[in-house]
């Protein structure tokens, strides 16, 4: 049995109104644009929500506040989850989401630094975020800042060798202000991670690279909050939180279905079902 199967049996708490509303925002942006990565955004919703609601010290009205915590979405194709929470927090107007992927929109199919308020790095080419986080953590430590760095990685992204170059460097430099958050939804573009390129034993991998490791149910806000509020897990070490998630979470047909990784066109029936499940539309 796959890990995803185990998780489905174990079960996360039902999605609350806020989780459904954020998902609805993502779906409507994809509908407006006629494109977008649905599955990779849906598995991220509770992770991003918990970070921005409870963990990150940021100022939406001052996106470049020097003492802010930095959240880098390294799996850039999950950007709709980031855009939804940034708009919700007031980094830019909610209406901007309707321009997703449109001509001259600030909201491209992958997040761009310097263009989208609140976006901390241009990502989409995978395997960049953790190294960028290291650079930021080193610079902040040099100036005595207490600001922290959170880098959200995809599981498929962990195929990139550069992630493990960065992992070694992060532990060498004892960057306990750096936390990697893995959206472990067990699926990547082509299919299950267990078939494309096995990641297990994933926690042991990170441990062996010098990280202090914790795991959480990535759709349970209280579990995520518990895990994210206590970083660093060990002084002098970078932390990683492996979040067990479901790709396409909250959209019944999309859950753990690689066909929905980059779903462009939703049929009228599919959209009706999604809107009814999420209570949006």
């Amino acid at each position: 049995m796959t890990s995803a199967g185990i998780l489905a049996e174990t079960g996360s708490p039902p999605l609350d109104a806020r989780s459904k509303a954020l998902r609805s925002t993502v779906v409507e942006a994809i509908v407006a644009a006629g494109r977008g990565h649905l599955g990779p955004a849906m598995s991220l919703i509770e992770i991003m929500r918990t970070l921005y609601d409870h963990v990150l010290r940021v100022r939406p009205e001052e996106p470049l506040w020097p003492e802010r915590d930095r959240c880098i979405l390294s799996k850039g194709h999950g950007c709709l989850a980031l855009y939804a929470i940034l708009a919700d927090k007031g980094f830019f107007p909610l209406e901007t989401l309707a321009t997703f992927c449109g001509h001259d929109s600030i909201l491209g199919g992958h997040p761009e630094f310097g263009i989208v308020p609140g976006v901390e790095a241009s990502t989409g080419a995978l395997g960049h975020g953790l190294s960028i986080g290291i650079g930021r953590a080193l610079a902040l430590r040099m100036r005595g800042s207490k600001a922290r760095i959170f880098v959200v990685l995809g599981d498929g992204e962990l195929n990139e060798g550069s992630v493990w170059e960065a992992a070694m460097a992060a532990s060498k430099h004892k960057l306990d202000s750096l936390t990697a958050v893995v959206d472990y939804n067990k699926f990547q573009s082509y299919g299950p991670t267990s078939e494309v390129l096995e990641l297990e034993p994933l926690a042991d991998k990170w441990r062996s690279f010098g990280f202090a490791v914790s795991e959480a149910d990535g759709h349970d806000v209280s579990d995520l909050r518990r895990a994210l509020e206590k970083v660093p897990y060990r002084a002098g070490r970078p932390s990683v939180l492996i979040c067990h998630t479901v790709k396409g979470k909250g959209v019944p047909d999309a859950e753990s279905n690689a066909d929905w990784h980059h779903k462009n066109k939703l049929t009228a029936n599919e959209l009706t079902t999604i809107r009814s499940v999420l209570g949006g539309g």
Partner: protein, 326 residues
Amino acid sequence: MAEQARTLAMGQDEARQDARGIVEAPFGRALVDLARSRPEIVGLTADLGKYTDILPFRDAFPDRFFNVGMAEQNLVAVAAGLARTGKIPYATTYGVFATRRAYDFIAIACAHSALDVKIIAGLPGLTTGYGGTHQAIEDLALMRMIPGLVVIDPCDATEIAQATAAIADHPGPVYMRLLRGNVPVVLDPAAYRFEIGKAKVLREGRDVGVVSTGLMTERALDAAAALAGRGLSVGVLHVSTLKPFDAEAVAGFAASVDRLVSAENHVAGGGLGSLVAECLFDRGIAKKLHRIGLPDRFIECGSVPHLQARFGLTSQRVAETIAGLV
């Protein structure tokens, strides 16, 4: 200091036959001088500090130096993170590794965000005899295609020192080729002024004009001096910045000479020679261009002077090539 500054590997420091002065590790020395008054400057390397002349910086500022491991993608993206957080990182590795291994990271993590990262690339072109794995013969062509990236191929110790300081004042990403170890002084430090994006006429001439970059400018100047004794008037325009390219200066220089030659320590396609051709064609300047550079193939191993002679990059071979044109 002298011992630590010395570059150790790869055997390219064969004894020089001319009377020019040398400076040892001009990049590392210039970086130390600069960093004394610029606390935001930090140094990084992908475990090639010993071979890229950055150890003087490490010794002077150990808290501002980071060896990120033999990991070039990580090197470039860590530098991007530092730049995003107020630092000016100088990141060293070999040109082959920076360009071939970390292209995506230079393009997206650095250039796409216009970050203040300075990549210092050792072993440019044919400056090592260790064969094709270590010879960055196509790096200028690769780097000049990245939007917003400044690309510099310095001539000598004087220019390396000046450019090391100048790029700190340029807000944005830079790829600079590194001449390391005992580097000759070709340009008079009192008279020469490096400017990003500015080509400089180093010698006037009527018969043949050589547009050169990097260490080939030294060879072009030597060839021009030798040919003057044989009654040939050869000018030299030094183009140290490939991007942004000083097309105006090249067009003006081309118009002032009968025959035009480009000379680069790089494949003859995609780099300086191609830039000159584009510039001439764009302006409707009909002038035959002879491009001195490396062939479109991987280069074998061997001693550097021997290889440079074989591929036409020595002063004597440049002079022969020019003499053969007229």
